[in-house]
C-alpha cells in the first residue's frame, strides 16, 4: 500500500510520462501510462473538502507543463481536476480508440440518459428552426430535470469529437468497398444525432438570459456547427460556425468548414461583413474564392500581399499556383508547383492538382517523376494515389488508373478529385454507369466541382440523353460562366435537341466567354463583347452558322461562315494549326482543353477542318447565289489547302461549266 505522498509522487511521475510519451508520439506507451495513472486509487478527492481544491490542486496535482492553461478560472479549475482523465482520453484518441475515449468523460449510460430525457422533454429539439423563444422555454424545462455532467469544455469537446470520429470511422466501415454494393454514398454518421442533441442540451443549459453562452470558448460551437453541416442543416451550421469563429479566430478547420458551406460567390460576399476581421478571415476569403474558381487581379494582389507576410508558406504558394491553374495559365502554375516541390519536397498536399496540370500539359516524364516522388514519400496517401492514377491515365492504362483512384477513395472517401477523375476513367472505359456514379459521388462531396458536372453531362450526352446532359452542362456553366467550353457544351447539346435559337445564344455566350477570358488574362478588363480583338473558335462559329442555316436565316449563317473563314488569318498567320487540332480532338481530357493557347491577340488559326468546311459551304452558297467568281476563288483556295480536294475540284469544274454556259 502506498502512502499518500508516494501516491502523489507516483501520480505526478505518471502524468509526466504520459505527456512526454505523447509529445514524442509514442501513443501506445502514453496510453499505457495513462491507464495506470487513472487506475491509482484516488483517495484524496473524497477526503479533501470541495473548497480546498481552489488552493491546493493547481499547485500540487498539475504538472506545470502538461497543458495550456485556461484564462477562465472556472474552466481552469475543472481542467485541473480532470487532468488524469483528460490524459487518458487524449491517449485513447491518439490510439484511435474513439469510443473508449468518449466513454472516459461521457459513459454511454450518462449519454443515453441525457439524450432520452432531452428527447422526451424537448419534442422540438430535433427541429431547431425556432431559435429565440422556444429555445429559452426548452432550456428551462430540461435544466430542471437533467444536468449534463459537469465537465470542462475541453474534455467535453474531446469526448464529443471522439464520438464524432468514431461515427465517421463506422460510416467508412459500413460502406465497405469503394463503389461496392453497400457504398451508395448514403451511409451516415450515426453519432451525429447523439452529438447534436447533447450539444443542444448543453447550449441550452449554458445560455443566459440575453441569449449568449456563458464562458464558451468557441470549440463546442465549432463542433456543433460541423455536426449540423454534416446533417445538411446549413444555415444553422453557418450560424454556429460564425459564432465559433468570433470566439476563437485561429481555428482553421472551422474556417474550412465554413468554406465548404459556401456554394457561390454571392454567399461569400454576403458573409464578408459577418466574419471577424482577422488574418485568418482574410486567408479564408482567398481560399474560398479559389475554391469557387475565381480569378482576377484583385485576388492575385491579395495573395501577393499574403505572400509578403508568409513568404514560404506552402499553403499560400499552393494558392498562387492554383490561381494560375484556374486561369489556365498552366506554365505558370507548373512553375509555382515546381518551386513548391523544391521548397517542401516531403509535402504531398495538393500535389494531385499539380498532377492535373502536368496531365493537361502532357509532360509525361515530369508526371512520372512526380508519381515516383509521391510514392517514395508515402504511397498510401490519397494524393499519391491520385497522382499515380493520373499518370496511368496519361499512359492510357485506364484500368490501372481506376484501380489507383479507387485506392485513393478507400483511403479517403471525401477525396473529391479522385471521384471526378475516376469518372473520367470510366468514361474512357465506356462504363457509363460507373462513370455516372463516380461523378455523382464527386458532386455529392462537393457541389462546386464543375468538372464532375461537366463529366456527368458528357456521359449523358454519350448515352444520348440530351435533356439530362443539358441540365448538368448548365450546372457546370453556372459554376464557370466565363468558361467558353461549358457554354459550348450547352450550345451543342441544345443544338442536338433541336433548340437552335437557344443553342445559338449559348454558343455566342461561349464566344464571348472566350474573349472575356482572354481579356481577363491580358488584364484589360471589360474589353470583351462582340467586337473581339481575339480570334474566335472556328468550330463554334461553324456550329452557329449551321444552326442559322437550319433556322433558314441565310444571311446570318453566311456572315458566321465568313467569320469562321476569317479566323484563319489573324494579324500574324503563323500559329501551328496542328496544335489546335490536337486540342480540339482531346475533348475528353480531364480538364477542358481550350482551343486557344496563350491567348495572344491577333494570330490566326490557320486552316482547320472547321474553316475548310465553312469555306466549302461558302463556295456552295456562292454557287447557289450565282456568284461564280467567288465560288471559283473559294474552291481553288480549298484545293490549295489540300482539304477535300476531290469535292473542291468537282466544284471548280462545275463553276467552269456554269461560267461557260453563262458565257454562251
Amino acid at each position: 500500500m502506498l502512502s499518500q505522498r508516494d501516491a502523489a509522487e507516483m501520480r505526478a511521475n505518471l502524468q509526466e510520462a504520459v505527456v512526454k510519451c505523447s509529445e514524442r508520439c509514442l501513443y501506445q506507451s502514453a496510453k499505457w501510462a495513462a491507464e495506470l495513472l487513472t487506475s491509482l486509487s484516488t483517495t484524496e478527492d473524497s477526503i479533501e473538502p470541495e473548497d480546498s481544491q481552489m488552493t491546493e490542486v493547481p499547485a500540487a496535482a498539475v504538472p506545470p507543463i502538461v497543458v495550456t492553461g485556461n484564462v477562465d478560472p472556472e474552466e481552469a479549475q475543472l481542467e485541473a481536476k480532470e487532468i488524469n482523465q483528460y490524459l487518458l482520453a487524449k491517449s485513447f484518441f491518439d490510439c484511435r480508440e474513439f469510443d473508449r475515449c468518449a466513454a472516459v468523460f461521457l459513459p454511454d449510460t450518462v449519454l443515453s440518459g441525457i439524450l432520452s430525457t432531452a428527447a422526451t422533454k424537448n419534442p422540438n429539439a430535433s427541429a431547431p428552426q425556432g431559435k429565440g423563444k422556444s429555445r429559452g422555454s426548452a432550456a428551462r424545462t430540461s435544466t430542471a430535470l437533467v444536468a449534463t455532467p459537469k465537465l470542462s469544455q475541453k474534455s467535453l469537446f474531446l469526448a464529443l469529437y471522439a464520438k464524432f470520429m468514431s461515427g465517421e470511422k463506422k460510416k467508412d466501415e459500413d460502406s465497405e468497398m469503394v463503389m461496392g454494393p453497400h457504398d451508395g454514398g448514403n451511409a451516415i454518421n450515426k453519432q451525429l444525432n447523439v452529438i447534436s442533441r447533447f450539444l443542444e442540451t448543453w447550449f441550452l443549459e449554458h445560455t443566459n438570459e440575453n441569449g449568449s453562452v456563458d464562458g464558451s470558448q468557441g470549440w463546442l460551437e465549432y463542433l456543433y456547427g460541423m455536426v449540423l453541416a454534416k446533417d445538411k442543416n446549413e444555415a444553422q451550421a453557418m450560424h454556429w460556425l460564425l459564432k465559433s469563429v468570433h470566439l476563437y479566430q485561429m481555428n482553421w478547420s472551422c474556417w474550412l468548414e465554413m468554406a465548404s458551406l459556401i456554394g457561390r460567390m454571392e454567399d461569400l460576399q454576403q458573409l464578408g461583413q459577418r466574419v471577424p476581421a482577422h488574418i485568418f478571415g482574410f486567408i479564408f476569403n482567398i481560399h474560398t474564392s479559389l475554391e469557387l474558381y475565381q480569378s482576377g487581379p484583385d485576388l492575385s494582389a491579395r495573395l501577393d500581399q499574403l505572400l509578403s507576410i508568409f513568404p514560404t508558406s506552402p499553403f499560400i504558394l499552393t494558392c498562387v499556383a492554383l490561381l494560375a491553374y484556374h486561369t489556365k495559365d498552366f506554365v505558370t502554375a507548373d512553375a509555382h508547383f515546381s518551386n513548391l516541390l523544391a521548397l517542401h519536397p516531403h509535402r504531398l498536399d495538393s500535389l494531385d492538382h499539380y498532377s492535373n496540370i502536368l496531365y493537361v500539359m502532357n509532360l509525361r516524364p515530369k508526371l512520372s517523376f512526380l508519381a515516383h516522388l509521391c510514392s517514395a514519400v508515402d504511397k498510401f496517401r490519397p494524393e499519391s494515389c491520385v497522382v499515380i492514377g493520373n499518370y496511368y491515365s496519361l499512359l492510357s492504362s485506364h484500368e490501372k488508373a481506376v484501380q489507383y483512384f479507387r485506392r485513393a477513395l478507400t483511403l479517403d472517401r471525401s477525396c473529391l478529385s479522385a471521384w471526378t477523375l475516376m469518372g473520367h476513367e470510366y468514361v474512357e472505359l465506356k462504363n457509363t454507369h460507373a462513370a455516372i456514379e463516380s461523378y455523382r459521388r464527386a458532386v455529392d462531396v462537393n457541389r462546386r466541382d464543375y468538372r464532375a458536372w461537366y463529366g456527368l453531362g458528357q456521359t449523358y450526352e454519350v448515352l444520348e440523353m440530351h435533356a439530362y446532359a443539358l441540365w448538368y452542362y448548365k450546372r457546370a456553366a453556372g459554376l464557370r460562366p466565363w468558361d467558353g467550353k461549358m457554354w459550348m457544351a450547352v450550345g451543342s447539346c441544345l443544338q442536338k435537341m433541336g433548340r437552335d435559337l437557344e443553342g445559338i445564344k449559348a454558343l455566342k455566350r461561349a464566344l464571348q466567354a472566350d474573349s472575356y477570358y482572354d481579356a481577363g488574362v491580358g488584364s484589360s478588363f471589360g474589353s470583351g463583347g462582340r467586337e473581339r480583338a481575339a480570334i474566335m473558335d472556328p468550330e463554334i462559329l461553324l456550329q452557329i452558322a449551321g444552326m442559322y442555316e437550319r433556322l433558314e436565316d441565310e444571311a446570318e449563317a453566311r456572315s458566321y461562315m465568313e467569320m469562321c473563314v476569317a479566323q484563319e488569318e489573324g494579324a500574324a498567320e503563323n500559329l501551328d494549326s496542328s496544335v489546335i487540332n490536337i486540342h480540339a480532338d482531346s475533348q475528353s481530357s480531364e480538364d477542358d482543353s481550350r482551343p486557344q493557347g496563350g491567348g495572344d491577340t491577333g494570330s490566326g488559326t490557320g486552316v482547320t477542318a472547321a474553316t475548310s468546311k465553312a469555306r466549302m459551304w461558302l463556295a456552295k452558297h456562292a454557287m447557289r447565289t450565282g456568284d461564280y467568281n467567288r465560288a471559283m476563288q473559294l474552291a481553288t483556295e480549298l484545293c490549295q489547302d489540300g482539304v477535300e480536294v476531290e469535292e473542291a475540284k468537282a466544284l471548280v469544274r462545275e463553276v467552269r461549266v456554269r461560267q461557260e454556259a453563262d458565257g454562251l
Binding site: A335, S338, N339, L341, A342, L343, P345, H346, R364, P365, K366, L367, S368, F369, A371, H372, L373, S375, A376, V377, K379, I388, Y391, Y392, L395, S397, K400, Y404
Partner: protein
C-alpha cells in the same frame, strides 16, 4: 522485388533490340545470340557445356560487367567508326532517362515482333505502313519473341510501386557504367539518367534537386542493396536448379552457397514455396529430423493451395522416405502404403510404380517390419512383384524403374545362388536400357552390380576395375551415395591386400562438402572404423580393437547398412577368436546364422559364416566336427558359383582332411585351388591356404620314412610354401599369423636338422611375439 523483371532483363531486352537494329555484324551474331539464349532458356534444355569452366563465367545475376565483357570486343556494323557494340548498348540504356521513358521502352518492345495478320490490318487502318522486309523481326513464338512478350506482359501487370522499384534498381544497376559513358560522351551532367532532375536543376537549384533525388532514389546513395535486382523468376530458377542438384548428387548445400541463398531469400517478400523444399532437403541431409519434417510439411502446405490434392501422394511419398531415413520404419511403411492407395486412386502410375519399387526394396532391407504390416500381398511373392514392376515400368515408360527392377532381379538371383547367366542377362538388359536412354543416374547401381558379380565370381581385378571406371567416369553425374559405396568397396579390396594406408587415403579423399550429409557421413565414419578395426586386429592391438568394436556394435542397430553390420559382426567374431574366446565366438556365429535364416539373407554371407564356423572348430582343436559344415558350405558355394567362398570352404575341408591324416587328398585339393584362389587377391585367404598346404605336406613328410627323399622333398616344399604363407601374412600385417608360421618354420628347420636356422627362426618368432605383446 518483382516477379520476373530485373534490370538485367532490361539489359537483355536492349541487347535484343541491338540485334534487331542490325548493328551487330554478322561475325558477332552467334556469340551475342548465344549469350541471350543462355539467359532465356531454362537450364534443363541447355546442352552440357563442353568444358565445365564456361559454366562459371556468368554470374547468377547478370551485372553490367558481363554485358561489357561480351560486347566490347565486337565492333558495331553501323554508326561511327571506332564504336563498339558496348557503346551502342550503353546508349540504349542511358536513353531510358525517366520512369516514363522506361514505360516507353517497354511499350515499344512490341515493335520488334513480327506482326500478325490482325495487327497488319489494324496498322493499315491507322495508316502505318507494314515494316520493310529487310528489318529483323522476331517471330512471336521464338525464344526471343516469347521473352519479349512475357516481359511486356509482366511489365503491364506490375503495380506502380513495383515499377518504381524496378526503375530505381535499374538506375542503380546502370550506375556502374556512368564513368565510361561520361568519358565517351565528353562528360555527363550530374543528373544524367533522370531528365526531370536535370531539367529541374535550373529551376530548383542544386540543393533542392539533391534533396529531391534523395527522396526519390533514397537508398541509392546511402546503401548498396540490390533490392529488385533479382526477381522471383530468377530465384525460382535457382531453387529448381539447386533442388535438382541436391536430388541428383545427394549433397547438402555448401556453406557459402547457403549464405548467399539466405541473402537472396531475405530480400524478397514472396518466397517461392520451393525454398521450403530446399530447406527440407538440406535439413534431411543434415540429419535434422524435426526441421526437415517441419519444412516438408510447410512446403506441402504452401503448394496445396495452388495444386489441390493432386500432389498429395507425392507429399506422402516424401514423408515416407523421410521417415524411413530417420528410422521410423512403421510410420514410413504406413505412409508409403497410403501413397500407394492414393496414387491408385489418382491413377498416377509413375508415383504408384515408384512407391511399389520403394516398398519392395524396403521389404528387402527390413523384412521384419514388412511382416508386421499385413501388406505382403501388395506385391505378392518377391519375384512376381519384381516382374510386375518391370512390366508396369515398361508400360508407363519409366525407364529408371525398369532398369532398376532388372537389376533387382539380377541381385535377387545372385543372392539366392541362382544361375549366373540369368544374372548376367538381366544386367545386360538393364545396361542396354541405361545406355539407350542415357540415364546417368542409373550408372551407379549398374556398375555396382557388375562389380559385385565379378567379385562373387572371384575375379577381383575386374571387380576393382568396375569400381575405378565408375569413380573416374560416372561419379560426376551420380549420387554421392554411390560414389561413397564405390570408394568403400575399393578401400575394402585394398585392405584385403593389406594396403591399409592407401585404403584410408581413398576414404579421406572424398569430397568434404558431400560428407556433410548426415547419412553419408555416418556410413563413412563407420567404414573408417571398420578399416581401423581390421588393422588393429591384425596387429593384435586387441584393446584398441575392443574400443572400436564397442563403438561399432553400439550403432549396429537395425538402421545401419546390412553390409556394414555383417562386416562388423565378422570382425567381432575375429576379435573373439583372437581373444581365444571360442565359446562366445561360436555363440555369435550361431546367432548370426539364425538371424540370416529368418531374413533370407545373401547366400554368400551364409557360406562365409559356415566356413568361419568350420575354421572355429579347427581353432578349438576339433576340426572334424566342422566337416559336415564345411562340406555343406562348399557344395552350396559350388552350386551358386560363389568362387571365393568355395575356396574358403575347400580350404576348411582340406584342413579337416589333414587332421584326419588324409594328407595326400588334402594337398591335392589345395594344390588345385590355390592358383584360382590367388586370382581373388585376398591375402588372408591365401595365407591360410598356404599354411594348410604346408600342414598337408608336413603330414606327407611325416608319413614318409625319415631321411627318405620323399620326406626331404616334402619338407623343402613345406619350406617353400611356408615362406609364401609368411609373405601373405606380412602383407596384411597379421602378426599372429606370422608368429604361427614362424613357429612352424622353426619346427621344420629342426626336423630338417638345421639347428642354427631353427634357432634363428625361433628368435625371430620371439621378436615377433614381443612385438605382438607390445602391441597387445
Amino acid at each position: 522485388m518483382t516477379r520476373f523483371l530485373t534490370p538485367a532483363k532490361i539489359g537483355l531486352l536492349a541487347l535484343i533490340e541491338l540485334y534487331t537494329d542490325a548493328v551487330v555484324p554478322s561475325s558477332s551474331t552467334i556469340p551475342i545470340l548465344s549469350f541471350i539464349i543462355n539467359q532465356l532458356l531454362p537450364c534443363a534444355y541447355k546442352a552440357q557445356p563442353r568444358e565445365p569452366k564456361s559454366l562459371q563465367t556468368l554470374p547468377f545475376i547478370l551485372d553490367l560487367e558481363s554485358f561489357e565483357a561480351l560486347l566490347t570486343s565486337h565492333p558495331a556494323a553501323g554508326g561511327l567508326p571506332g564504336r563498339s557494340l558496348w557503346d551502342h548498348f550503353l546508349r540504349k540504356l542511358w536513353e531510358i532517362d525517366s520512369l516514363d521513358a522506361l514505360h516507353e521502352f517497354f511499350a515499344t518492345r512490341g515493335n520488334l515482333l513480327a506482326r500478325n495478320r490482325e495487327e497488319i490490318k489494324k496498322d493499315g487502318e491507322l495508316g502505318i505502313p507494314p515494316p520493310s522486309d529487310d528489318m529483323i523481326l522476331l517471330s512471336r513464338t521464338s525464344p526471343l519473341g516469347s521473352f519479349i512478350r512475357r516481359a511486356k506482359v509482366e511489365y503491364e501487370r506490375l503495380r506502380f510501386s513495383d515499377t518504381l522499384s524496378l526503375w530505381v534498381a535499374f538506375v542503380e544497376w546502370r550506375e556502374e557504367s556512368r564513368t565510361y559513358w561520361a568519358k565517351r560522351n565528353g562528360g555527363l551532367e550530374r543528373w544524367a539518367g533522370d531528365r526531370v532532375l536535370a531539367e529541374g536543376q535550373e529551376e530548383w537549384g542544386l540543393e533542392a534537386t539533391e534533396m529531391l533525388e534523395h527522396i526519390t532514389y533514397g537508398a541509392l546513395s546511402t546503401e548498396n542493396s540490390n533490392q529488385g535486382g533479382i526477381s522471383t523468376d530468377d530465384v525460382e530458377k535457382l531453387l529448381e536448379f539447386q533442388v535438382e542438384q541436391m536430388q541428383k548428387l545427394g549433397n547438402r548445400i555448401p556453406h557459402e552457397v547457403k549464405e548467399q541463398f539466405k541473402a537472396v531469400l531475405e530480400k524478397n517478400i514472396i518466397i517461392p514455396s520451393l525454398s521450403h523444399y530446399l530447406n527440407f532437403l538440406d535439413a534431411w541431409r543434415a540429419g535434422d529430423y524435426p526441421t526437415s519434417f517441419d519444412n516438408l510439411h510447410r512446403y506441402f502446405d504452401y503448394t496445396m493451395q495452388n495444386r489441390d490434392r493432386l500432389f498429395y501422394q507425392y507429399a506422402l511419398m516424401n514423408l515416407a522416405v523421410l521417415q524411413a531415413d530417420f528410422g521410423c520404419f512403421d510410420e514410413a511403411v504406413a505412409a508409403m502404403l497410403e501413397t500407394v492407395s492414393t496414387a491408385r486412386e489418382n491413377k498416377d502410375m509413375a508415383c504408384l510404380n515408384f512407391a511399389l519399387n520403394w516398398l519392395y526394396h524396403f521389404g528387402k532391407a527390413h523384412p521384419k517390419i514388412m511382416k508386421g504390416t499385413d501388406s505382403t500381398n501388395i506385391l505378392g511373392v518377391e519375384r512376381e512383384g519384381l516382374a510386375f514392376l518391370r512390366i508396369k515400368a515398361k508400360e508407363t515408360g519409366m525407364w529408371t524403374l525398369w532398369s532398376s527392377s532388372l537389376l533387382s532381379e539380377a541381385k535377387l538371383g545372385m543372392s539366392n545362388g541362382e544361375s549366373v547367366a540369368t544374372a548376367f542377362e538381366n544386367i545386360l538388359k538393364s545396361s542396354q536400357l541405361i545406355v539407350e536412354k542415357n540415364m546417368k543416374s542409373m550408372m551407379g547401381p549398374q556398375m555396382a552390380m557388375h562389380s559385385s558379380l565379378w567379385g562373387r565370381l572371384g575375379v577381383a581385378h575386374l571387380s576393382r576395375q568396375y569400381c575405378d571406371i565408375f569413380l573416374t567416369c560416372h561419379a560426376r553425374y551420380a549420387l554421392f551415395d554411390d560414389t561413397l559405396r564405390f570408394t568403400t568397396r575399393v578401400a575394402h579390396l585394398l585392405a584385403e591386400r593389406g594396403r591399409y594406408d592407401e585404403a584410408m587415403e581413398k576414404l579421406e579423399g572424398l569430397d568434404e562438402n558431400s560428407l556433410r550429409t548426415w547419412k553419408s557421413n555416418q556410413y563413412w565414419l563407420k567404414y573408417r572404423g571398420i578399416l581401423r578395426l581390421k588393422r588393429d586386429l591384425h596387429r593384435n592391438n586387441l584393446s584398441g580393437a575392443d574400443h572400436l568394436l564397442s563403438q561399432l556394435t553400439q550403432c549396429n542397430s537395425s538402421d545401419t547398412d546390412t553390409d556394414l553390420a555383417y562386416e562388423t559382426n565378422t570382425l567381432h567374431i575375429d576379435y573373439l577368436i583372437r581373444r581365444t574366446n571360442y565359446g562366445q565366438a561360436l555363440a555369435k556365429i550361431e546367432q548370426m546364422a539364425s538371424e540370416m535364416k529368418e531374413e533370407g539373407d545373401d547366400l554368400n554371407l551364409r557360406i562365409k559364416l559356415l566356413t568361419m564356423k568350420a575354421l572355429l572348430q579347427d581353432k578349438a582343436g576339433r576340426p572334424q566336427k566342422g566337416f559336415s559344415i564345411a562340406v555343406r558350405a562348399a557344395s552350396i558355394a559350388w552350386r551358386a558359383r560363389l568362387i571365393p567362398a568355395l575356396w574358403g570352404a575347400m580350404g576348411a575341408i582340406a584342413n579337416i582332411l589333414t587332421s584326419l591324416s588324409e594328407f595326400q587328398a588334402s594337398s591335392q585339393i589345395l594344390v588345385a585351388i590355390i592358383p584360382r584362389a590367388l586370382e581373388y587377391e585376398n591375402c588372408t585367404l591365401n595365407a591360410q591356404l598356404y599354411s594348410f598346404l604346408v600342414d598337408a605336406y608336413m603330414g606327407l613328410a611325416g608319413q614318409a620314412e625319415s631321411g627318405s627323399p620323399t620326406r626331404k622333398e616334402n619338407l623343402t616344399r613345406c619350406l617353400q610354401f611356408i615362406d609364401q604363407a609368411f609373405d601373405e601374412y606380412s602383407t596384411v600385417e597379421d602378426i599372429k599369423g606370422q608368429c604361427e608360421i614362424m613357429a612352424k618354420k622353426a619346427t621344420i628347420m629342426r626336423v630338417v636338422g638345421d639347428n642354427v636356422l631353427a634357432n634363428d627362426y625361433a628368435s625371430a618368432y620371439l621378436d615377433l611375439k614381443k612385438g605382438l605383446s607390445v602391441g597387445a
